[in-house]
Amino acid sequence: MTDTDTRVQPRKTGLTRRQKRRLSRGAQYAVFAAAVIAFAVTADWGRLQNQFAQVDIARQLFPDLITVALKNTVLYTLSGFVVGLALGLVIALMRLSSVGPYRWLAGVYIEIFRGLPALLIFIFVGVGLPLAFPGIQYPGGTYGKVAVALGLVSAAYMAETIRAGIQAVPKGQTEAARSLGFSPARAMVSIVLPQAFRIILPPLTNELVLLFKDSSLVLFLGVTLEERELSKFGNDLASTTANSTPILVAGLCYLLITIPLSLVVRRMEARAQREIR
């Protein structure tokens, strides 16, 4: 810094760039280490282990944890996803329709259901609809009810995603199809939608992850023992055993599914990035 040339001199701190970088990184590690130590010192480890990591309580959870709770979580989520996808596709096509009332209806649906908490939709489907239409019967009982509720929760988001995917397919694709004699509907089904779904696979998988978590709202519908999914199962057993281990185990079961799914999404996104270049 003995250089007298003042043309390109930034703020003088007396530190080189390398020194500054070292200092900044050192400070960040120090804060992190302090937080870990503070947690380790203040936490009551014996108590935590007692509450969350009781091996014999965890053992009691099997096999129902898998054969009932996990199975139901997967069933609820997948059936909700299928309903949401079908409904979302219909709404997306309505949104892009040349018929004004369809576009309007789809827009209204999307705005309403995107803004409502999932819990409210569950209560509406589980309590509101049966009261409003006394004769109503969901096919498949609770399973049908949950599929409809989760379908309604996810359809608005999926409709917007599918619409974006359809619009991302170049117009030339439709024109090529039409010039070959495809009808508009057939061009949509055979040419546009397959490409659109390829584009939106990552966001749709993300929605699946969200639905796995939302399926826990079944808790509020009142289900039989055999219909319990992970959250209700964990909650019930936590109260009967007066211990939180079942909740920890149920949580791990969710992660067992959602983390691999997220990794798949990240892979797909990385691949899509590469293909764009």
Partner: protein
């Protein structure tokens, strides 16, 4: 003598207030090859797209064979099967292999069975010299190869007429020849063709007739030697001089004689 394969009568097309086609009359006979040339924005693509109703004309009538396309009661999907179209940007279906690009339209639109569609696809890929790419995907092909597949895809539908909208404009110069060779062969086989192009050599050697458009009207038409070699209209002359020697166009007005030399 033969009935016209394409007949366009007083065709008008506006986009909002933009009057793009201002009364086009054109007949193309069976087996005739017509090249449409003209400056950018003169309405060449719009004319071509009106011939298979990708754009809806605002006025006038379009016939293909004996069918009036502009009749609101005509089954437009059925007529389009008789008209092949090749785009500047190829527009192959990227999610399908080369063979599937050719077989899917046959199966979905013409309801051909799997074996027939596969056979017709193979024949037409051979016709454009790309049999060895049957299982490739479009993204792995060069632009010239993609355009030849696009031609084969249109041919597989057994069209009576082929429309080309600047089929070589998106290609690297060294790939243009392969595509033009395929089109030349198609012309020799007697296909009725309407080609929007800037390839003057192709127009001269292959076209039966050249149509020069400017400002939404046909300014002049005639044999290639007449229109390209000896243009009557100032607008045609101006266009050709700019096309054949873009660098000189600003400086000097070329005579038709010089145009001919530059061309050769």
């Amino acid at each position: 003598m033969t009935r016209p394969e394409i007949r366009v009568e007083d065709l008008h097309k506006s986009f909002g207030g933009n009057h793009v086609l201002r009364g086009i009359d054109l007949e193309i006979a069976q087996g005739e090859v017509v090249c449409v040339i003209g400056p950018s924005g003169s309405g060449k693509s719009t004319l071509l797209r009106c011939v298979n109703l990708l754009e809806e004309p605002t006025g006038g009538r379009v016939f293909v064979g004996d069918t009036e396309l502009t009749d609101p009661d005509v089954d437009i999907d059925a007529v389009r099967r008789r008209i092949g179209m090749v785009f500047q940007q190829f527009n192959l279906f990227p999610h399908l292999s080369v063979t599937e690009n050719l077989t899917l339209p046959q199966r979905r639109v013409l309801r051909r069975d799997r074996a027939t569609a596969a056979r017709v696809a193979a024949e037409n890929l051979a016709r454009v010299g790309l049999s060895e790419k049957a299982d490739a995907f479009p993204s792995s092909l060069s632009g010239g190869q993609q355009q030849r597949v696009a031609i084969a895809r249109a041919l597989a539908m057994g069209p009576e007429v082929m429309l080309f909208d600047e089929p070589t404009s998106a290609l690297d110069p060294e790939l243009v020849g392969d595509v033009l060779a395929v089109m030349r062969r198609l012309a020799e086989d007697g296909m009725t063709m309407m080609v929007v192009t800037h390839e003057m050599t192709f127009a001269r050697e292959v076209a039966d007739r050249v149509v020069f458009m400017d400002g939404g009207v046909i300014v002049e038409e005639g044999s290639p030697d007449r229109v390209i070699g000896d243009p009557r209209h100032e607008r045609t002359r101006h266009f050709l001089s700019r096309l054949l020697d873009p660098a000189m166009a600003e400086v000097e007005e070329e005579t038709p004689d010089q145009v001919g030399k530059a061309e050769a």
